[in-house]
Amino acid sequence: MLRYLALRLGRAALTIVLVVTFAFVVLRLSGDPAVIIMSPEAPQAAIEAFRHAWGLDQPIWVQYIDYFSAIAHGELGQSFRDGRPAIDLVAERIPATLWLTIPALCLKLLIGIPAGIHAALHRNSLTDRVVMAGAVAGFTVPSFVLGLMLVLLFSVELGWLPSGGQGSWQAGILPVITLGFGGAGILARFTRSAMLEVLGQPYIRTASAKGVPWARVVRGHALPNAAIPTVTIVGFMVGSLIAGAVVVESVFSWPGVGRLLVVAVSNRDLAVVQCILLLVATTMVVSNLIVDLLYGVLDPRLRGGRS
């Protein structure tokens, strides 16, 4: 078990290193931050001075090694804009993002899983068709379209809810619905197909054959098996709690991590972008790790190293 855990942690660390390396290379190939920040008309001497000040005149591999040794010392760099530590800039945005993504995650779970189970249990019924149509709409309509439609209806036409900003708790309602609807659709579809797969298994027939009432067959025999594939999707959703709202935050002018990322990328504010990517990669990897450990809890066949 310990060896398995160490192996998993090692792989998780490697994934993070790869993501950060990739981001580092792409960002430095995609434009000169000095020119963008100083404006192209700035005197050459000023641009050179900026490059020198931030170490951008060094060869890329030197910058790369410097960057990693800084990370190893817990130093994530400063924003080119105002010189504040990138980590502070990102950290102060995290609560705003979680204010959207955590309620949205609850919405996904509370709607998606029961809807999927219900649809599977009443396969081909009217409710099944309605749920599946809603699910397809949920994950095919892009969030910016849904977001704008909701704004049009509830803010512009009806005037019930604010169209953006973070002024009041009501301002969060439309972005949470926008985020939650698509995820609920995906989750409903996955849960439904997982349930259908399980309900067709011989052990479900065995449970009925030994006289287990149907409601208990579903709860005690089908759900624990259907949970295994569903957990994968939920894990993915938990992993994107930090960075899953980039589009929605932009649509609703919500001052979260997603909007900071968009602004930082267009400004080539390398330290901030990398700090966010590091955070995103870490949450994704950690949630994946938790999912892997949960598999072992849920499915005895996947438990390694039995004594």
Binding site: Q201, P202, Y203, R205, T206, A207, S208, A209, K210, G211, V212, P213, W214, G220, H221, P224, N225, L298, D299, P300, R301
Partner: protein
């Protein structure tokens, strides 16, 4: 006076435990069982043979209400006089696993992979015998010992994937016995197992049947297995019963040409080696059944009168055959 006494005795213990009348099962427009009559007596071992797709398993799944909703089931299935088809779910739940138990072909996938085998047996004990956890645990251990699972104390806590196929079938049998059933339906219980394990499982079934006095329905395509275990044998073909008799009678004097064909296709264990005789042709597709006898296209003795659907008739004592030619053939062998 004596007649009424006999009547009363018959009423208190009706000899027929399960009575199936005119059972018809269809999947969409494909018939799987096409009008089946069958009685199972208390305590007897009844074999049902026939090739894959002849409806032998579907009959019993339909009787227990275990078919998917896509199947339509008509006719009547009575357990000790009580109608099962269309019975309320709560009624079926008390009967299934309680009075009628069933075990399946592939024991490993028939057990829930996420629950310990002991838990699955205890669930049946709690449902049908109202035992609390402690009593169920003790009874589960006793059942594990009864079905011959060695080191039962450790094995009750294992998961199905940690046991062999043969041991899982023993667990299935223990689970079936948990409700102290009047009848155990064994649906090809050894098909997925090794030859040596097959013999052990059959021996176990024979032993528990003898010890508990329950009836046993053994569904198999293996005539040898059925001959060894069963007192009475029914032969099914294309969704109907074509012949039914005492096992010794059926194997010694088969009357239906299909049964004769099946027996001719078996190798002899003794005597000179001979070429096996296959039955010509193949089973008609469910969508393209001939109007009369379904075996007619393959029958070596087909005649004009075979285009009428033959009824199951008693041609010798307790020997029923569904073949219009059988009496004639029998008279002039």
């Amino acid at each position: 006076m004596s007649a009424s006494l006999a009547d009363r005795k018959a009423a208190s213990t009706p000899p027929d435990l399960v009575e199936i009348r005119d059972l018809v099962v269809t999947f969409g427009d494909q018939p799987a069982v096409r009008g089946l009559d069958l009685t199972l007596r208390r305590g007897e071992a009844l074999g049902i043979v026939g090739e894959s797709g002849c409806g032998k398993s579907v009959t019993w799944l339909a009787a227990l209400g275990l078919l998917p909703p896509t199947a339509t089931v008509e006719g009547s299935v009575r357990l000790a006089g009580q109608e099962l088809l269309g019975a309320a779910p709560a009624t079926l739940d008390t009967l299934r696993g309680g009075r009628i138990a069933i075990i399946f072909q592939d024991p490993t996938s028939s057990l829930n992979p996420v629950h310990r085998v002991g838990t699955q047996v205890r669930e049946a004990l709690r449902l049908h015998r109202g035992m609390d956890h402690r009593a169920a645990a003790a009874e589960a251990l006793r059942l594990f010992d009864l079905v011959g699972i060695p080191d039962s104390r450790r094995r009750v806590d294992l998961y199905p994937h940690e046991l062999s196929g043969g041991q899982n079938q023993r667990v299935m049998i223990a689970m079936a016995l948990a409700g102290q059933p009047d009848v155990l339906i064994a649906d090809e219980p050894t098909t997925a197992l090794d030859a040596t394990i097959q013999a052990q499982i059959l021996e176990l079934l024979q032993k528990v049947q003898r010890e508990t006095g329950m009836a046993l329905v053994l569904i198999s395509h293996d005539l040898g297995v059925v001959a060894e275990l069963c007192q009475r044998v029914g032969v099914m073909y294309a969704g109907r019963m074509v012949e039914m008799a005492e096992a010794s009678q059926l194997f010694a004097h088969p009357l239906h040409p299909y049964t004769k064909g099946l027996l001719a296709a078996l190798p002899d264990l003794s005597g000179p080696r001979r070429r096996l005789v296959p039955i010509q042709g193949s089973v008609p597709e469910p969508g393209a059944m001939p109007a009369g006898c379904a075996f007619m296209p393959r029958c070596p003795d087909q005649q004009r009168q075979c285009t009428a659907l033959p009824a199951l008739r008693e041609l010798a004592p307790a020997h029923h055959v569904a073949c219009v030619r059988a009496p004639i053939m029998r008279a002039a062998p």
